[in-house]
């Protein structure tokens, strides 16, 4: 079903074309369009971020416009959570997470919860400052029980490596799952250098015997920009079978050395599921002729002062189940990095200049061009021998099962 909704391939003919199009629809924006982004996670810390919608053309290519209202001048945001037993959970703002954090670690899943957000805005009018306060609230939210993650599997179809999960809901009936995950993987650069450039003497020297390569093992983490949604409606049993969580090519360095995924499963109500599904569809149009036209969706947050105002976001309350899985490098298909090696032309630039440009010597290498076979010392970009230069971190996660450093 999801597949049907997601893939209605464009039925274009031979002569159809897709062209880039810059939106020119004007910036009719409601200054008041607020985004409330958060989930009440029972058993963990809940994070709620309060943001503003920004014009389409603004920093369209950067993609990281966060517009956190709590950091915005003139705005004061406060968040609190209440449960049906009358308890209040205050939130404190964490600038590193760019979100208000609520301690719901020991919250009970038997109660209902309600989120309140208050935004005070300083308005300057008629020579004076005044404060405009708006309150936003959700209805009472039932806590949904997260599905049990039965297994996480890794397989490949030859080109892609897929991480799939099996999960099942503990209750009967239609279930709607949401999977979030964190990936952490260890990788190393394609080459280990046998030579190094000594800046002091300006010479290329072989690596000493006892040199330890401390830029060989690195770790990286990533979180997805879209969570995986799964619905068991219409299926024989309320199970997610081989639900695809993530996939990446076999040449990606995720599966080079060791890969770990921390899968978090959550449950949604039907309305929450449909909200998010429509949200993803609206944001990922494929241009197919038979695609559903985008439509506005209403979340479950209302503004007390103006019930007709649009508030973006849907808040759910759910327990979380996590499971971690590891995968070694058995599926890794190393891309060919050899083309990164090159013989520098010392008549063109000195080794120092190459070094200053970010290249590093690697090893002796034979490069064949046409009929010419040349064996000489080859250089490559720094990131080909230095995993930190390639973006990795030397901080090894505590749970890492090997002794690499």
């Amino acid at each position: 079903m999801k597949k049907y909704l997601a893939i209605l391939a464009a039925a274009c003919s031979l002569w159809s074309c897709i062209y880039p199009f810059s939106p020119d629809f004007g910036d009719e924006l409601d200054d008041d369009t607020i985004v409330i982004d958060g989930t009440v996670l029972i058993g963990q810390e809940s994070k709620v971020a309060v943001r503003k919608m920004v014009p389409l053309t603004q920093a369209a290519s950067s993609g990281t416009t966060r517009q956190d209202l709590s950091l915005e001048k003139g705005y004061t945001v406060s968040v609190r959570l209440e449960d049906s037993a009358g308890e209040t959970y205050p939130a404190h703002y964490d600038p590193y997470a760019s979100a208000h954090v609520i301690n719901t670690v020991s919250a009970s899943s038997d109660r209902q919860y309600r989120l309140f957000v208050e935004i005070a805005r300083q308005v300057y009018a008629d020579g004076t400052f005044s404060t405009e306060v708006r309150h936003y609230e959700t209805p009472w939210l039932d806590v949904m029980q997260a599905p049990v993650i039965d297994a996480i599997t890794f397989n490949t179809d030859g080109v892609w490596l897929e991480v799939r999960a099996d999960a099942h809901a503990e209750k009967e009936g239609d279930a709607y799952f949401r999977f979030d995950y964190e990936e952490t993987w260890e990788f190393h650069p394609p080459f280990e250098p046998e030579f190094f450039f000594d800046v002091g003497s300006g010479r290329i020297l072989p690596m000493p015997e006892d040199w330890e390569n401390d830029v060989y093992n690195c770790w990286l983490s990533a979180t997805p920009r879209e969570q995986v949604l799964y619905s068991t409606r219409g299926l024989v049993s309320p199970k997610a079978e081989h639900c695809r969580i993530a996939r990446f090519p076999r040449g990606n360095n995720r599966c080079q050395e060791m890969y770990s995924i921390l899968l978090k499963s959550m449950a949604l109500t039907r309305e929450a599921y449909e909200y998010h599904e429509t949200l993803y569809k609206n944001s990922n149009q494929g241009g197919s002729l038979f695609e559903t036209t985008p439509s506005e969706i209403r979340g479950n947050i209302t503004c007390v002062e103006d019930s007709t105002a649009i508030v973006l976001g849907y808040v759910s309350a759910t327990t979380v189940k996590t499971r971690r899985a590891f995968m070694d490098g058995r599926y890794y298909m190393a891309p060919n990095y050899e083309f990164e090696l090159f013989h520098p032309d010392y008549t063109d630039m000195t080794p120092l200049q190459y070094y200053a440009m970010g290249y590093r010597p690697v090893k002796e290498w034979t490069i064949v061009t046409g009929d010419i076979r040349q064996t000489a010392l080859a250089w490559a970009q720094r990131r080909c021998i230095d995993c930190v230069a390639d973006g990795g971190s030397k901080i090894k996660p505590a749970y890492w099962p090997n002794d690499h450093r």
Partner: protein, 1079 residues
């Protein structure tokens, strides 16, 4: 030959029309005989038999170019001698006239037994008892025990013909290659043997009848060096027959069959026009004294009928010269009566040619006109009667009573411009009729004469985009059009997502689109009715055609099963477009795709008699397309119908039809885990009966219909897969099984839609007529049982104050019980159809429209201006985020909306001449608004929003220019405002990625649409001897190559960055070539 349109006359014409002078209309009407609509509405208009065709043409419509010749005619039992006669072989009437200067009149064919002309003998076989003979005259070329006849018919063609070619059949000294109309000749030979009339096509047919004497005949032929390819049959047949008859000269057939009439009965009789025998025992020129009552100054309206006039070839003397001298002026008075019932005819125009004065007869049919003395020509004309032209000599005051003869309906209609003047004839507004000939000239993608593309060039008809399979009429949704093909309902009128229509152009005869003024016999949809009829197979000979194009091929074959009685027609089309898709780049995702369709038509017509016809029609079509490796769409149409027509006397008809429709859809998703097949179908059976009858000024129609529906909302089954899978380590194993989708199916909905209707077209006077209809339609569903129903009203009126100028207005209400639910921008075959039930109410609508129609420039250009206002109630739209497929509670995801639409359409159409076609412009708006009150959740918060097909400006041009009779150029221009879309208005970061926030529904527009197509059509040469005619169309679709956007869409690429794209379906010029072979 007359050529009317020189400048002076044109101005005169214009002045005359403006002065409301209907008299000059006589000249104009002469063109209109070839501008009549094909004759289904013969009650609303009567053809006028004219003796002059006032436009340019090559050739002649007479039997031969020899013109009027003296002869004798046996008419109504009396022999008239020495009459100038000529045969109009176009309508097969016998024309007679006194002398060169008088106008000629047609004799009543049903009274003509035989006549001679210039030494040739002609007979009216029907009159002489040969029942099987067609109506009309036959030349007796051999008189013997088995007479042989020659029959010549002239047909009107819209090409120049050939100067000395066989097509015209004679040398035409006035041939002008710039004139693209001519009369072509059709020669047929018959022999009457043993009481049976047998057609002779070639020598073989004759020898076949005399098998035992075949050898003799052959010897005779070779001995006398007869025959050979160019030897005319009209010489060959008589010679052979004379040989066969031998020297004994047996009694001729002619003498035997005509001996019951005898010569005599007076001399100098001139035939009467209306069939009444006028015995006049005086001579032609001199009138006996005392024949008239001597008149004084007094006008006498007395019953003393001075002269009762019904015939025209006589000179009437008004008054008596006093003392041998004429008075300076004389008053002619008299009474005009109907030949059939003797009743007076008011409103007859009596016009004098010399002084151009005219009067009208009063309510008692009396008139009085003052004329100068001397010779005059007096014309009597009345809309529903035959015109009379009388030669008079005015000596003084006198009386002249006139009996107006009936108009003779002509049965034939011209091929060209069957569409022009239709708007003046009918009360129906918003009716567009297009013939297949016109359709084939409109360029379309991939070169096929496409019915739907032709529909889209008409004003008021729009589509959402090039890949849309539906169309929108006057602001109505796609599912609000009832598309009928030979009475079968077609649910998906196109193949390959809108590129080809479901109708094979070789099979289609014509189509009618009712945009407003929908006749009461139709119902069930609220916006329009598109009625397409297929051709009857040829009753005479087998013929067919073959079309080869870049993407599709088609063929058709038709012919008689029993000559003159039963015929068949069949056609088929198929595509081979897969090869094109494989040329596409892999990254487009379509390289592995396939799209194909094929369809087959079959029709059989059986004529029990001329008035009883049975037609059977069948249609089967299948479509399939797949664009990703996983998903395949398949759908099928199967339709069958049977129709019986019985024509009653007086122009009525009784029609009974029944049939079955089946529309089936299948979506197959081959995903190994959650793949499925989803099948839906609609089954429909109908029974209709209709009856029309003419009662005086009323044409009454009544009828009833019942349509039964069985609609399956969906049958979902897990996908069954069985494939070989290769693992990462290279081993291959077989995987079989079914996916984990749970089988489900929605209950089949059943319903029946009965209806009865009553309609009347009432011609109140010659300028005003009214069309009223009432239809009661109902809808009864089963399980749970629910009934909807109610009356629908159709009312329209037409007012023609002046010739060629008509004003119409009308109001319609309609009901619709079946709905198409769609949330995609293009109508996809997987959209859901739903019957009304206890929770889903039917859609109602009403439309008011008015229009003005004017035909100018000698009836060559039709101008029309129509405006409409429409309201739709309970039109179903989907809620945001609705789930439309396999939803057992679909009503929960739908809302009722109210729609309003209004617009103005202007069209100028030219249907005759070298340049023909039409240009139209329309401005129209359509808005929807959700009913009920869902507060902020309502679509657009409950405010009016643009309907997805709201395109305010629309300009269309469809032109065809005939360079010569073989080459013509077609140009098509389409411009419209961009359609409304819902676009993002902002972006925000949510749950880890970028998301788009959308505007109110349909509140922005994509850029405007403009497209120009051009094509060159090369028609077959007129080489009759060629076995097959080929015609070629070469064209370019989208000449300017404009990348007309179909839609704009945005993606964040899964939360990363926002990109906007514009999708064009045909983004470049598309050349095409199409080859058609007719055999």
């Amino acid at each position: 030959m007359y050529y009317i349109c020189n400048m002076k006359r044109c101005l005169l014409l214009l002045a005359a029309i403006l002065l409301f002078s209907p008299l000059l209309a006589q000249e104009v009407l002469e063109e209109s005989i070839f501008s009549k609509a094909a004759g289904t509405n013969s009650q609303l208009f009567r053809g006028k038999v004219v003796n002059r065709y006032a436009f340019r043409y090559n050739g002649t419509y007479f039997w031969s170019p020899s013109g009027f010749e003296k002869g004798d005619v046996m008419y109504n039992g009396k022999l008239y001698r020495d009459v100038s006669l000529n045969i109009d072989a176009y309508v097969h009437e016998l024309a007679a006239r006194i002398d060169e200067t008088t106008s000629s009149i047609y004799l009543d064919r049903s009274q003509v037994a035989w006549f001679t002309k210039g030494g040739d003998r002609f007979v009216n076989l029907r009159y002489l008892g040969v029942e099987q003979a067609p109506e009309g005259f036959f030349q007796l070329i051999h008189d013997g025990p088995s007479p042989v006849f020659l029959r010549i018919d002239k047909e009107f063609q819209s090409s120049p013909g050939e100067k000395d070619g066989e097509i015209i059949g004679y040398h035409d000294p006035d041939y002008d290659p710039d004139v693209i109309t001519y009369f072509s000749q059709l020669k047929r030979f018959y022999i009457l043997k043993d009481g049976e009339l047998i057609r002779l096509r070639r020598m073989r047919d004759l020898t076949g009848l005399y098998k035992d004497r075949k050898k003799e005949i052959r010897r005779f032929i070779s001995k006398n060096a007869l025959g050979g390819r160019d030897y005319p049959l009209e010489r060959l047949f008589p010679q052979i027959m004379a040989f066969l008859d031998g020297d004994g000269r047996p009694a001729g057939w002619f003498a035997q069959h005509t001996d019951r009439w005898h010569e005599g009965g007076g001399e100098g009789f001139v035939p009467s026009v209306s069939g009444q025998v006028i015995r006049e025992d005086s001579q032609r020129k001199d009138l006996a004294a005392g024949f008239f009552n001597p008149e004084t100054e007094e006008i006498s309206y007395g019953s003393e009928s001075d002269q009762q006039v019904t015939y025209q070839n006589k000179v009437y003397e008004i008054g008596v010269p006093v003392d041998g001298k004429d008075a300076p002026r004389g008053k002619v008075t008299g009474r005009v009566t109907d030949s059939q019932d003797g009743l007076p005819i008011p409103g007859t125009v009596i016009w004098d040619e010399k002084t151009s004065t005219y009067v009208r007869s009063d309510k008692d049919g009396r008139y009085s006109i003052s004329l100068p003395a001397g010779e005059n020509m007096l014309h009597f004309s009345e809309y529903t009667k035959e015109d009379l032209h009388l030669r008079i000599i005015v000596h003084g005051n006198g009386g002249l009573d006139v009996v107006m003869p009936e108009k003779i309906t002509t049965l034939r209609s011209a091929i060209v411009s069957a569409e022009s003047m239709a708007s003046h004839r009918t009360t129906k507004m918003g009716l567009e009729r297009v013939s297949m000939k016109t359709i084939s000239k409109i360029p379309s993608a991939f070169g096929e004469g496409d019915v739907l593309k032709a529909v889209l060039t008409l004003p008021g008809v729009k589509s959402v985009g090039e890949a849309s399979s539906g169309f929108n009429v006057r602001g109505g949704a796609s599912d609000q059009n009832l598309i009928l093909f030979n009475d079968n309902t077609i649910y998906n009128p196109s193949h390959m997502f809108g590129i080809f229509s479901s109708f094979n152009p070789d099979i289609v005869d014509n189509m009618e689109l009712y945009k407003s003024s929908i006749p009461a016999e139709y119902g069930g949809r609220i916006s329009s009715v598109l009625n397409i009829r297929s051709k009857e197979g040829s009753m005479e000979k087998v013929k067919g055609s073959l079309g080869i194009g870049l993407l599709t091929s088609r063929f058709h074959l038709e012919g008689p099963l029993a000559k003159g009685k039963t015929s068949f027609i069949m056609g088929g089309r198929t595509t081979y477009s897969d090869w094109l898709l494989r040329q596409m780049p892999k990254t487009s995702g379509y390289a592995n795709g396939s799209a194909s369709f094929s369809d087959v038509n079959l029709g059989v017509t059986h004529r029990f008699t001329e008035d009883d016809i049975l037609q059977a029609s069948g249609y089967w079509a299948t479509d399939r397309f797949a664009f990703s490796n996983d998903t395949t769409f398949r759908y099928r149409n199967l339709n069958a119908s049977l129709r019986y027509t019985h024509k009653t006397e007086g122009g009525g008809a009784l029609t009974v039809s029944t049939g079955y429709d089946h529309f089936y859809n299948c979506l197959e998703d081959g995903d190994q885990l959650i793949g499925y097949t989803l099948e839906t179908y609609i089954r429909q059976a109908f029974l209709k009966a209709g009856w029309t009858r003419v009662f005086g000024n009323h044409t009454v129609g009544a009828g009833a219909s019942a349509v039964g529906y069985g609609l399956s909302g969906g049958d979902l089954k897990p996908y069954v897969f069985d494939n070989e899978v290769e693992d990462a380590d290279g081993t291959v194993h077989r995987e079989k099984g079914i996916t984990s989708v749970e089988a489900a199916s929605l209950a089949t909905e059943y319903a029946i839609e009965p209806a009865v209707y009553l309609s009347d077209t009432w011609v109140l006077s010659d300028v005003f007529s009214l069309d009223a209809g009432i239809r009661f339609s109902g809808f009864l569903t089963r399980a749970p049982s629910h009934f909807y129903g109610g009356p629908e009203f159709r009312l329209s009126g037409k007012y023609t104050p002046v010739e060629n100028f008509t004003v119409k207005a009308g109001v319609n209400t309609m009901k619709q019980y079946i709905h198409l639910i769609s949330n995609t921008s293009s109508i996809s075959p997987m959209d859901t159809w739903k019957l009304s039930d206890a929770r889903i109410r039917p859609t109602d609508g009403w439309q008011g429209a008015g229009g003005v129609y004017w035909t100018v420039f000698d009836s060559t250009v039709d101008l029309s201006l129509e405006g409409y206002w429409k309201r739709m109630y309970r039109y179903l739209d989907y809620k945001s985020g609705a789930r439309l497929s396999m939803n057992p509670n679909l009503a929960d995801d739908l809302v009722e909306t109210t729609g309003k639409a209004y617009g103005v359409e202007f069209m100028a159409k030219k249907t005759v001449g070298r340049l023909n076609g039409w240009i139209s412009y329309s401005y129209s708006r359509t808005f929807l608004r959700e009913d009920g009150d869902r507060g902020v959740a309502a679509i657009n918060g409950g405010a009016w929003y643009n309907a997805p097909y709201d395109k305010p400006h629309d300009l269309k041009l469809a032109l065809n220019y005939a360079l010569t009779h073989r080459y013509s150029i077609s140009v098509n221009v389409d411009y419209s405002t961009g359609r409304p879309v819902t676009v993002p208005v902002g972006q925000y970061f949510y749950q880890g990625g970028l998301r788009l926030a959308y505007s109110a529904r349909n509140s922005y527009r994509i850029p405007d649409y403009f497209r120009l197509d051009a094509a060159v059509n090369i028609d077959p040469g007129h080489y009759l001897k060629a076995l097959a005619h080929t015609s070629i169309t070469i064209g370019v679709y989208n000449v300017t190559g404009r990348k007309n956007p179909y839609s704009v869409y945005f993606t964040t690429n899964h939360g990363n960055q926002i990109r906007g794209y514009m999708l064009s379906v045909f983004a470049t010029q598309i050349p095409y070539i199409n080859l058609n072979i007719l055999f």
